[in-house]
């Protein structure tokens, strides 16, 4: 739609200067300036930088398992994106880094013990069903990483289930323990690690969720860089805390207090990195707050009332489904009010 036509116009050139080439002028619509630091690729790069603390924590706790899992997912996502692009006779849009981001988040949401084919299948489903089918970057309704994750969660339930995280013959001690939420679910409350340990991350779980500290560090960086809107993690964590608090009040003997809910599982990881995906979250501030709050509430509800120990994947997917409606209901009033219809 942008019209740019080049024309050599005879124009007055500075007198007394040697005949320099006449300027090549073109026409185009305004505005004629734009912010140089603002590109999609830069935003995705910021997300990758924000993931560095989380990946570092994952590698610290899970060692080479983490490296392998994340690499498999990132590589598979890039391959999937390229294949789907060739299928549609397009050039693979890898340079905007969004595929790498999806791969990294997907890898971080998998357990260390998932076999290589789980990562590959999850990546292909994430890119194919979660993104390509909708038309590529910016067109999807559901978070692609969560689509892939949910698919393998259900299809490979035994290798992805809660008990799969634990292997008595694992090479690292932490991998022989149950994840905090699983331990609580199976009502062996005495096995819950301390809150501080859960905050720092030396516990079992999926790769990215264990260190809440790392998630906070990277997440706050994302908010500062405006690659993520702070309203979403804030409302998600507060929403979760409220429901967990009410549940705790109603059931004071539960080993899972509000703080356990906040530092256990992938709530903080999901709040800062997954729920904040701009494509699948609302546009307006009010919409973002509703979205985050709804996700936070659903996370706790799924944790408490379903068979799953963790609810982040489905909470986010369910709220993603609500986003078009939220956008429609929350059209902001223009400054000064709407123009009166005649």
């Amino acid at each position: 739609m942008t019209a740019e036509s080049t024309a050599k116009t005879p124009v007055p050139v500075a007198p007394g200067s040697e005949p320099s080439p006449p300027p090549q002028l073109h026409v185009a619509p305004g505005p004629h300036l734009s912010s140089t630091s603002s590109t999609t690729r830069r935003m995705m790069l910021d997300v990758l930088v924000g993931l560095v603390p989380v990946m570092a924590a994952a590698v610290t706790v899970f060692r080479w398992h983490a490296v392998l899992q994340i690499s498999i997912c990132v590589a598979s996502c890039l391959v999937a994106e390229s294949l789907f692009a060739f299928w549609r006779d397009r050039r693979p849009p890898l340079s905007d880094l969004s595929t790498a981001v999806t791969g990294a988040i997907l890898g971080l949401s998998l357990p260390w013990s998932a076999p290589w084919y789980v990562g590959v299948v999850a990546s292909f489903v994430a890119i194919g069903v979660g993104k390509a089918v909708f038309g590529g970057l910016g067109q999807n309704i559901f978070n692609p990483a969560m689509v892939g994750r949910a698919f393998v969660m259900i299809s490979f339930a035994s290798v992805m289930g809660a008990t799969a995280h634990v292997r008595s013959d694992a090479d690292l001690v932490v991998l022989t323990q149950a994840t905090p939420l699983t331990a609580a679910k199976e009502a062996t409350g005495s096995d819950l690690p301390g809150l501080w340990v859960m905050f720092l991350g030396n516990v079992n779980g999926s790769l990215g969720e264990t260190s809440v500290l790392a998630c906070l560090l990277g997440g706050l960086y994302l908010c500062w860089r405006r690659a993520a809107s702070w309203e979403i993690p804030a409302s998600m964590i507060i929403g979760a805390a409220l429901v967990a608090g009410i549940a705790n009040l109603l059931n004071p003997e539960t080993p899972l207090t509000v703080l356990h809910h906040l530092v256990g599982g992938s709530l903080v990881f999901g709040a800062f990195y997954i729920a904040t995906d701009p494509v699948t979250s609302p546009l307006t501030r009010r919409g973002k707050i509703c979205f985050g709050a709804g996700a936070g509430v659903l996370v706790i509800v799924i944790r408490l009332f379903s068979n799953y120990p963790e609810g982040v994947v489905f909470a986010i997917l369910l709220m993603n489904a609500m986003v078009p409606l939220v956008n429609r209901w929350m059209i902001p009033k223009p400054f000064g009010g709407p123009i009166a219809e005649h």
Binding site: T2, A7, T40, L137, G336
Partner: protein
């Protein structure tokens, strides 16, 4: 989301004022030919009062109309009228215009012309002898229109309406577009007529209070205006530099805290806003009976050889203006009538300067971003910066795919096309162009 002294949204493009802000206003050498358009204002075009081969003097009225919203046009040089023709305005519109060949000897040129425009005395007292009717009559006959760009006939704006009382006159000295310095120089070199004009305009409109809003990146102008306003009761208010602070709804909010209703005018909240250049022209028209024939424009940008602030006769071609500023450098890429945020690119330098022209900005390839458009990722930055609290991405993409009703539901008509959204968009989507498409389709429907 209002803040005292500012407004919600907005962006901070590089100001680049240093290229022209300290350059004294120069009078352009009288061009050989001017082409005075018969429509230089919002409203009905004038009808020509002169014909081919008529001799006209500087300031002689050459076009007028009896319509309710219009302003007469005057000759900006002394000379001979040529055959009426058609001029193209920077926005692409074709209007009838009167070409005038300037005679070799002009009654006012160079420094004399400068003095005629800005030389004193500019009294700030004893103005009560002019009744509101005297003032609006003089303003009408002088052909004054808003010189901030919108070019609304000033006599209509200053007329009293008992159903819509005015309590405050706001003088707009913000000049928020990058590169432009015309208003800045006027306030520094000739604050006198601006103050006198403000007093007269307030008297006409019935305003008790006068506030001048100036962005804080113009400290010299603020100081100069404070000196000139001393003892008159006019408040000189510094506002935070942010684009588009000079938009009148945003200025009313920043200085008075009042919200102009959507689709309405500042008049709806008891305010009249005029540009500093218009105020100076009011003083000249009322006290000396001089019509609007010249205006200050800033020729600036990285692609012009010698940036200047020029006093230019209306109807001068852009070709002559650019030549007076040394011409284009070889790396010039885009020549814009106005500022770089809302100005129109010129494809033809025969276009004449009009009463609403504020400047010529010449940008080079380094200034321009030639990045390919990518997909909207719904990041929401366009919402964050929109001064009108709209959702630019929704309106633009709805317009692109022809969903006019969706564009209307997202209040496309409230957009003022300031360009903040497109400025900040990471995907480089041509948001303003698409929204403009949506607005025109909705208006035509």
């Amino acid at each position: 989301m209002s803040r005292p002294g500012s407004f919600g949204g907005g962006v901070h493009p590089p100001e680049r004022k240093s290229l022209a802000e300290s350059l004294l206003i120069e009078v352009i050498p009288t061009p050989k030919l001017v082409s005075v358009p018969l429509l230089q204002h919002l409203g009905v075009p004038c009808e020509a009062l002169v014909k081919n081969r008529d001799e006209v003097e500087l300031g002689q009225v050459i076009g007028s109309s009896d319509a309710p919203v219009t302003a007469p046009v005057h000759s900006s040089v002394g000379g001979t009228v040529a055959k009426p023709s058609v001029a193209t305005l920077p926005n692409g519109r074709h209007v009838a215009s009167i070409p005038i060949k300037a005679s070799p000897k002009q009654s006012l040129e160079g420094q004399a012309l400068y003095e005629d425009h800005f030389g004193g005395p500019w009294p700030t007292s004893g103005l009560d002898e002019y009744t509101p009717e005297d003032i609006t009559q003089a303003v009408r006959e002088a052909g004054l229109v808003g010189m901030g760009g919108a070019a609304f006939p000033t006599w209509v704006k200053l007329g009293r309406n008992p159903d819509r009382p005015v309590d405050t006159l706001l003088i707009n000295g913000c000049e928020c577009e990058p590169y432009l310095a015309a208003d800045n120089r006027l306030m520094i070199e000739a604050a006198g007529p601006v103050i006198t004009g403000a007093l007269l305009a307030a008297q006409s409109a019935g305003a008790d209070r006068i506030i001048v809003g100036i962005e804080d990146n113009k400290p010299d102008a603020i100081a100069s205006m404070q000196v000139a306003a001393d003892g008159t009761g006019i408040e000189i208010r510094s506002v935070r530099t942010k684009y588009p602070q000079g938009a009148e709804k945003q200025l009313v909010l920043a200085t008075l805290g009042r919200v102009v209703p959507g689709g309405g005018l500042p008049l709806d909240v008891g305010v009249v806003v005029i540009n500093v250049g218009t105020a100076a022209a009011v003083a000249r028209a009322v006290l000396r009976g001089k019509p609007l024939t010249h205006r200050i424009i800033t020729v600036s940008g990285d692609g012009i050889v010698e940036p200047k602030n020029l006093l230019v006769p209306v109807g001068t071609s852009y070709r002559d203006v650019i030549a007076s500023a040394g011409g284009l450098k070889s790396n010039a890429a885009r020549v814009i009538a106005g500022g770089p945020m809302m100005g129109f690119t010129l494809g033809d330098f025969g276009v004449p300067v009009t009463k609403g022209t504020s400047g010529v900005t010449v940008l080079t390839d380094e200034n321009l971003r030639s990045v390919a458009e990518t997909a909207c990722v719904r990041c929401g930055r366009c919402l964050d910066v929109c001064p009108m609290d709209l959702v630019p991405t929704k309106i633009a993409l709805a317009a692109r795919y022809g969903y006019w009703d969706l564009a209307r539901r997202y209040h496309a008509g409230a957009c003022m096309e300031c360009g903040c959204c497109a400025y900040d968009c990471p995907a480089q989507i041509p948001l303003v162009q698409l929204i403009r498409l949506g607005k025109t389709q909705l208006a035509a429907a």
